[in-house]
Amino acid sequence: MSPINNNQEVVLDVRDLQTYFKTDAGIVKAVDGVSFTLRKGQTLGIVGESGSGKSVTNLSIMRLIPSPPGKVVGGQALFEGEDILALDEKEMRKIRGNKISMIFQDPMTSLNPFLRISTQMIETIRLHNKGLTRKEALERSIEMLRLVGIPSAEKRVTNYPHQFSGGMRQRVMIAMALSCNAEILIADEPTTALDVTIQAQILELINKLSEQMGTSVILITHDLGVVAGMCDEVCVMYAGKIVEKAETEKLYAFPAHPYTEGLIRSVPRMNTTKKGERLYSIEGQPPNVIDLPPCCPFHPRCPKVMDVCRVAYPPITDLGGGHEVACWLYNSEEEKAAALKEAQA
């Protein structure tokens, strides 16, 4: 972890991203107005429970949303001053993999089981570095596999994916993602399918590589422990919106949104939780995101719910130092009254 340096240049600026899915039951607003910035060398965490829209956010940036039924209906993602959401497919291909690459959650299904690792890696490398011969690309693959810690890489490179264990497959995925010296690495739950000891290896690897190469990382996870160890800044997502954004240490020490607070308190901890003590728990279920009314989506589960929460979505309040929260608790009485009045009208 490196301290956030606000002078570092912004590599990715996502503004008011909206991705909707059309279903028979109605429109699912999977991502509804998400904004964040990613600086050079920074690791940004996106946390949330299943269905909160964290994966869809990043698939939208990568332009990998299957359409139909999905569609990015609004917003911008500025990368090197260009809105990548507006690029055509041909131009996007030059960025995808080359400048922004992605590691997927499931290493078992993201590699082609019929092709050797070498074939898959050479294909990727040559696609993005047109001048390279097959031999050079093979050498590059071996070098990358060695970098991610695969023993006897020159032999293993000709193996098929099934000959690798889960952790090693995830290393291969990382090697492929890094083989083009991407500026941004999006890791979508990179360790969820792995055991803790292997998880520690992979996270250490991502950390080391991002430090060495200055890569910016977006880490999507549901695991608050992983975030604590890896990220400089965290966005907490709930029902398609970012409800809180802060530096990691601030977020854990002073969670502002009741959801964040509940989430942090409901995880049992090895170091402090007392035996037999009841865990804090957020009652109820996450909302169905089909046709959500314009209220705070967390209000049915919120212990601090007020009248205004039931009728209007809270604006984003800056608590200082980049700590932002979307919760009515941090607005003045006048603002709340005005919102209530407007909703009733």
Binding site: V226, P268, P286
Partner: protein, 353 residues
């Protein structure tokens, strides 16, 4: 002195690897569980923790006789289960119930919640094994009572599993397990498929039920924080063996086995202040395949503290304190193996072979 409700002795579960299309020759075996022994006392929670493939799920399935164990003994309430006839087994199963990991796969999608929860009652009632026998109406009341107890509205009893979320389905599974008033519940990763906020609801529910009904749990999980939270004692498994077993508190404050130490240091803690200064022991390599017989310590390949002696001597359980046992040669009080050379170790192993 508390009496153990469940005693497991040298339990082994090997699965054959066969080859050939017609004459299935056995060419080897997967040693999923390779000799584990422990006691579970009434009213406690024994947690079993380990990485995927270490045999923890197989262990509970062998204990509940869903698999026929290769060898060893499982004694429940003084009754030997491995050799029990079907009739005795049926009686024993009334007291041993399971909760499964995947709430999507463990409920029959064609049955309503009512019939899922009532099924164990109906089965035992029909065979006249319930005392007193229940009428259909009583079963109905019992189902409603169970649903309310696990936090489901009884108005949902005619719904099908797909209409529920993961956490609610897990509650259905828990209600089904409670239906016959069991003495022990074997829970196989009951919270690992759930979101954090739902996970804490289910853990609290399991804790409440234990207090209310005096249940004993054998609780499996791979999440160390969850295990520490719920368990009285913890057994750590690696490659089909128990490497350390102790009171939960001792294990976390004073882990002895190098594997336990590594496992605890690898588990992320949701606190950035702690995480920043933490020293991790990163184990190299992967868990080896359990398809061959081992003559040395099962953790030898990845152990940061291995000695030549460990490569060809299987460590027994060394008792380090009341309720704290560890299978590692580092803790043999009688001898220090650090300066035993590979040649000497091999010679000694041959001598005793």
């Amino acid at each position: 002195m508390k009496q153990p409700i469940l005693q497991v002795r040298d339990l082994k579960q090997h699965f054959p690897i066969t080859t050939g299309m017609f004459f299935q020759r056995q060419v080897g075996s997967i040693r999923a569980v390779d000799g584990i022994s422990f006691d579970v006392y009434e009213g406690e929670t024994l947690g079993i923790v380990g990485e995927s493939g270490c045999g923890k799920s197989t262990a509970v399935r062998s204990i509940s006789q869903l698999y026929k164990p290769t060898s060893g003994s499982v004694i429940f309430n003084g009754l030997e289960l491995t050799t029990a006839d079907p009739k005795t087994m049926l009686l024993a199963r009334r007291d041993i119930q399971m909760i499964f990991q995947d709430p999507y796969a463990s409920l029959n999608p064609r049955m309503t919640v009512r019939s899922i929860i009532a099924e164990p009652l109906v089965i035992y009632n029909r065979r006249h094994l319930l005392d007193p026998a229940l009428t259909t109406l009583q079963i109905e009341h019992r189902v409603e009572e169970l649903m309310e107890r696990v936090g489901l509205s009884k108005a949902f009893k005619n719904r099908y599993p797909h209409e529920f979320s993961g956490g609610q389905r897990q509650r259905i599974g828990i209600a089904r397990a409670l239906a016959l008033n069991p003495k022990i519940i074997l829970a196989d990763e009951p919270v690992s498929a759930l979101d954090v906020s739902i996970q804490s609801q289910i853990l609290n529910l399991l804790g409440d039920l234990q207090k209310e009904f005096g249940l004993t749990y054998l609780f499996i999980a791979h999440d160390l924080a969850v295990i520490q939270h719920i368990s009285t004692r913890v057994a750590v498994m690696y490659l089909g063996k128990i490497v350390e077993i102790s009171e939960a508190v001792n294990l976390y404050d004073n882990p002895l086995h190098p594997y336990t130490v590594a496992l605890l240091s690898a588990a992320p803690i949701p606190d950035p202040v702690v995480e920043r200064d933490r020293q991790r022991i990163i184990l190299t390599g992967d868990v080896p395949s359990p398809d061959q017989e081992r003559f040395g310590c099962y953790f030898y390949d990845r152990c940061p503290k291995r000695m030549p002696w460990c490569s060809n001597h299987i460590p027994p359980m060394f008792k380090r304190a009341e309720n704290h046992e560890v299978a590692c040669w580092l803790y043999d009080d009688e001898r220090d193996y650090h300066d035993v050379s590979m040649e000497e170790a091999e010679a000694d192993a041959k001598l005793h072979a």
